[in-house]
Amino acid sequence: MPRTLLIALAATLFASSALAQETPTPGGRADLVVQPEPPGLMLGLLTNAPVQLVAGQIYEGLLRYDENLQPLPSLAREWDVSEDGLTYTFRLQEGVTWHDGEPFTSADVLFSANDFLVETQSRHRNTMARVESVEAPDEHSVIFRLKEPFEPLIRSFAFWVMPMVPRHVYEGTDYATNPANDRPIGTGPFKFDNWNRGSSIRLVKNEDYYIEGKPYLDELFYHVIPDGASRAVAYETGEVDILPGGSVENFDVPRLSALDNTCVSDKGREFDSPLSWIWINNRTPPMDDVRFRQAIMYAMDRQFALDVLWNGLGKVATGPIAGTTPFHSEVEPQYPHDPDRARALLDEMGYDGTPLRLLPLPYGETWQRWAEAVRQNLQEVGIPVEIEASDVAGWNQRVSNWDYDLAFTFLFQNADPALGVERNYISSQIQQGNPWNNVEGYSNPRVDELFAEAATAFPAERRQALYDEVQAIVQEEVPVAWLLDLGFPTIYNCQFQDIITTANGLNDSMRDAWIRQ
């Protein structure tokens, strides 16, 4: 890791601990960057990253999560899971109101879980397929009864996974065209105020927030700045205070981190745990040979990518489950950079030098450079590679239609292997037209069984044993070439305190943020 970044991270940690006991000061505004501009802010309809960043201050879920993904109170103040893992009981906060003044009650939870999100979100539909019923014995209690144990459910109540939407606004309307989508109404610490499209979004303090004294900040401004270099300049000139992870190109991170009064944090991505890999099209030769896929793993210098392209932030991936996701195990075989071993495997299988097409991820310069580095690695062991660049829509189509040999990607783990990992490896997820499922076409009946069993096993210890076995199989068969557990550092003015207090980072932490005078 570059020295400047290490110093910045260390200084940030020191500053955080030294100030831990300080009393927060109310007032002030925070200027953040949001990129790209969100298409809308109704979190029940849209859940992509920029929407989460802004709308996460407007909408809330029943729970928040700490950096170890343990649940914290949010709209639910208490919860209980029955011993058989079939009943989840929540006691809701009292005195919570929507931004239009209406009270928030268990009826809103029922509406959100049973009606709204089932219609709008495929992720939620899959979760609710495991739920027998959702009941509201009184205004401040909700019970989820399951058909069978589903331990990941406890990590399904985050603000963006199951956001609470107001029943009195949406019931009986066309959700997609409801006028409230333009002026979102949530229960969160900040209220929507104004959106100058193409320029900025303004949120203001919710004076009626149910936690006394919070939020501390008066206003949040999210600036839309489409060019990466301009975003870096906006921070340098003090026009923005906080650059969320991924706002600037990686090569700008060390320079910005070294600026006066600048702090850096790699926390707050534990819920997502972005893991990068290269899809390998398992359907066609030579990629259908496990030795070829292993050779790709040995050929790649992933430490180089981590040190040079990612400034040492993140870690080399050790398998299909990211290091910060529950049930991760580091199992053998691991794949250090070993070109000789790669060449030996290629010789053993009789690889004839068929050239491969590599699709970089069209997300900026870092990914383009990474593709070039991988091409060089593969060419060193005798695999000719042609890079075929495209834009986001083109990449989506190529990958969805399995029209590629190798393709860069990164996906979120969504806090549990059953929610964010198994979809990439099980046979039932081999469905053309979707870029986020088992695109590589890997199929192993034992892996299918293990993932299915692990999702419903209870308690967590039983799940761990099953995931250990599945990790060992997949690690051996290399359906995809894992690259890095990605680190997306947040760069910010050190006067800002407590901007990342949960596993979802800036997305749901701004209620705790304050400015040190």
Partner: protein
Amino acid sequence: MLRFVLARLVKAVIILLCITIFNFFLIHAAPGDPAAVMAGEAGDADEAYLQQLRERFGLDKPLPVQLLVYLSHIATLDLGYSYRQGLPVAQLIWDRLPATLLLSGTAFAISLVLGVMAGALAASRQGRISDSLISAFALLFYATPLFWLALMAVVLFSVQLGWLPGFGYESVGSGYTGLARVADIARHLVLPATTLGLFFMAVYVRITRASMLEVGRQDFVRTARAKGLRPGVIQRRHVLRNAILPVVTLAGVQAGQLVGGAVLIETVFAWPGIGRLMFEALSQRDYNLLLGVFVVSSAMVLLFNLITDVLYRIVDPRIRVS
């Protein structure tokens, strides 16, 4: 004149229709569609969700049917809804139009006025050092990639000197009103408009200079000199006026592109204009929005072509007579 304008307007409508149909098929020929992009952004979409989106947007219908639906909307001046932003296309374009017209218009004025003045000066001092210097500077600005010029302007005037804001249309959250707001917008306008203006200025310098030198060699100029007119008067009244036609042509073409011609500058300076809207619509395959921007910018080109032709007839009486 009225008959001429009416005939041109009818032609313009037919051309606009052809352009729209051509653009419609061109856009749909690009790989991917808005449903796939939006499903991709959702991160966890399945086939049912994709189908849901396609049905909502009417993308499940055959392409000719989609075209007919689109044209029927256009006929009633309805540009449709943006798939991704869920807002009427006309509203999105209308919201961005003032910023773009302000930026492109200012840059256009800078490039035209400075370009013609510098070109005329260079022509009158042909072969001297000032002629070479003007040509060299103009070419330098034109040859430097626009985004680089823009970034360097930001680094110098915004980061190093701190004189001017480096991005945006106005100071966000400042609460300025009235003249204070106008002054604030003007400060934000200086860097992008000047950068864009200097970039385009070179073309006017070159064309004005070349055209004036050519006209300057003609007989009627020699006659004017023989009559004893002062050189300044000859240059202004006789040479420049006759040399201005190519400049008017070029200005007409550039003015037509005011709406969509500043994508790079709008991106670097985070200027909330149409150019960026168009670029984002393209990358997200937001068909309706993209087509809407194309329709508006094509209409602008046709309109300015018409204005150019009318101007020709005013500037040069020979055309009017013929």
